[in-house]
Symmetry: C2
Subunit: 310 residues, 2 copies
């Protein structure tokens, strides 16, 4: 299998970035993905290192790869064949970033080491054990609009979607907007909950094997995917603690639900609020429980009990 | 076990509604819950019946029950001991109501019959089979503020939360705002997805056994609950089809994701869009995949493949 090395990486999306490789439909490629800091942070990093990050290097993606015969209006089908995790990573609170940025103005960082075989959950000190399910946070193709587009927001052509179920076996469909599609991948995570609430997951470099296929002339409004099986059985066995936010704004509801979950975790375990927030980001799920009983919606934060030992 | 009959029901929340029963902490009561139409619709109903609904009768709740020694500032703990479903129900599109009300201006209705033992999924014609997991859509206590409050929106004291995981075995915690708490229950559903996107689930009368306990002097900002085990294993075995909405507004993102799912179901099966929308409401889940990659968030709609035969 051909490998695209992380030396062939770029920051941001631009249709003018020349492809580093060409593939045909049906090909599988391996990509070396850097962590979201581009190698600036690792399992030995400290909170102070967050304050000296060079943000121009954040979220590099490996690629782009040109797919033969891909044309605007096609769909690029990306099968996530396998991930080979590195065994180390980090989760951080970055000032100004994250769902509760106003509540957590100070930097924080937790370094992780874990079994690359994924045979055991990753320990968070002695307080928690997080089951792992690695995936690339960022997979996308070049936007049709010219110029350099920030890598931070996801968009119609994918990108930094941070969808935790784009794990091994899932099949992602992306609308193609430029000839050759120009696909790149990065921002690999060893685990993340729905929402990625603190803004970082278990950020961890890894290798990713992806197979490319094409569907010609299929219109897609936004990324779609399918999973080959269940998506929560690695952590749902003991059930969940759930907090809710109830009100007329989904964003405020989500904040309220996560704040209540952090309070509950702190009360239950004595951990620091910063640790509870980072744990929510790596294993708790934000769900929209109801979105029709006007004027109030319910957003729920599901924390798997198993992570704290049931 | 004492039963509170559905003749003891009310529409809307008001601290002045006199209790129909008194219980002590530790007691279990059975409630007869009407469906959300208050008996106006059943499995034999037609779309035309939606247009003649008397909305003043919508969403009756059985109760209220006064809990001895409950005081404002306490938490009422409600354990959902068991549900005894009736075997019949309905799902409807009600003009002006639901996440995609603008796309679906016409009424529609699907009548359901199912095994009350829940030994088999409920058939949706020949196109789909929906695994059932019954729960009460509405459980709440009287708000402290005087006057009659609409039963439609959920609020701090619970009410029409439509949280599909408040199923048998779950334990709900509600903040008490009036002496005696004044608890009521209704709006029982045989199945619902996260979001209840069309505004109705499998609306089905049933009996509900609930145990009441009190926690004194515990402050809760909003309802919380815990589940005794996994919440999706009845339908996740074959994985999911997933559509996304990507953009700066969570509500628009949710609409985009559901619209894309309806389009996909129609294309895949040939079913009518109205049927796809109602099926999403009873078995597809809205999740917030990421809420931190400003300015764009990702809301995903997860449809369990098993419902269409994998």
């Amino acid at each position: 299998m051909r490998t695209i090395h992380s030396s062939d990486s770029h920051v941001g999306w631009d249709r003018e970035i020349p492809p580093v490789a060409h593939v045909a439909a049906g090909d599988t490629l391996e990509f070396e993905a850097l962590d979201a800091s581009g190698g600036q942070l690792g399992p030995e990093a400290r909170a102070g290192d967050v304050t000296t990050l060079d943000f121009s290097l954040i979220n590099p993606t490996t690629g782009p790869v040109a797919v033969e015969a891909a044309e605007p209006g096609d769909v690029l089908v990306v099968t996530i064949e396998s991930l080979t995790p590195s065994g180390g990573g980090w989760t951080a609170l970055i000032p100004g970033f994250g769902l509760l940025a106003e509540d957590f103005p100070e930097p924080a960082l937790h370094g992780w080491t874990y079994e690359p075989s994924l045979s055991a959950p990753a320990a968070y000190g002695t307080v928690a054990r997080v089951p792992l399910r690695p995936f690339p946070g960022t997979m996308g193709v070049a936007p049709g609009a010219p110029g350099l587009h920030s890598v931070v927001p996801p968009r119609r052509v994918g990108g930094n979607m941070d969808v935790r179920d784009l794990a091994a076996g899932s099949v992602l469909r992306l609308p193609v907007e430029v000839p050759g599609a120009l696909f790149s991948v990065g921002d690999t995570h060893a685990a993340q909950g729905d929402g990625e609430v603190c803004g970082t997951a278990i950020e961890s470099p890894m290798r990713v094997a992806l197979r490319f296929d094409l569907e010609k002339g299929v219109s897609l409004p936004a990324p779609q995917f399918e999973t080959p099986g269940p998506v929560t059985r690695h952590l749902d066995a003991d059930g969940y603690w759930v907090t809710t936010g109830v009100g007329p704004d989904l964003m405020s509801d989500a904040r309220d639900a996560v704040r209540a979950m952090i309070d509950g975790l702190v009360r239950r375990t004595g951990m620091a609020p910063e640790d509870a927030y980072m744990l929510c980001s790596v294993c708790a799920d934000l769900r929209i429980s109801e979105i029709v009983d006007a004027p109030n919606w319910v957003v729920s934060c599901y924390f798997p009990k198993l992570v704290l030992g049931g």
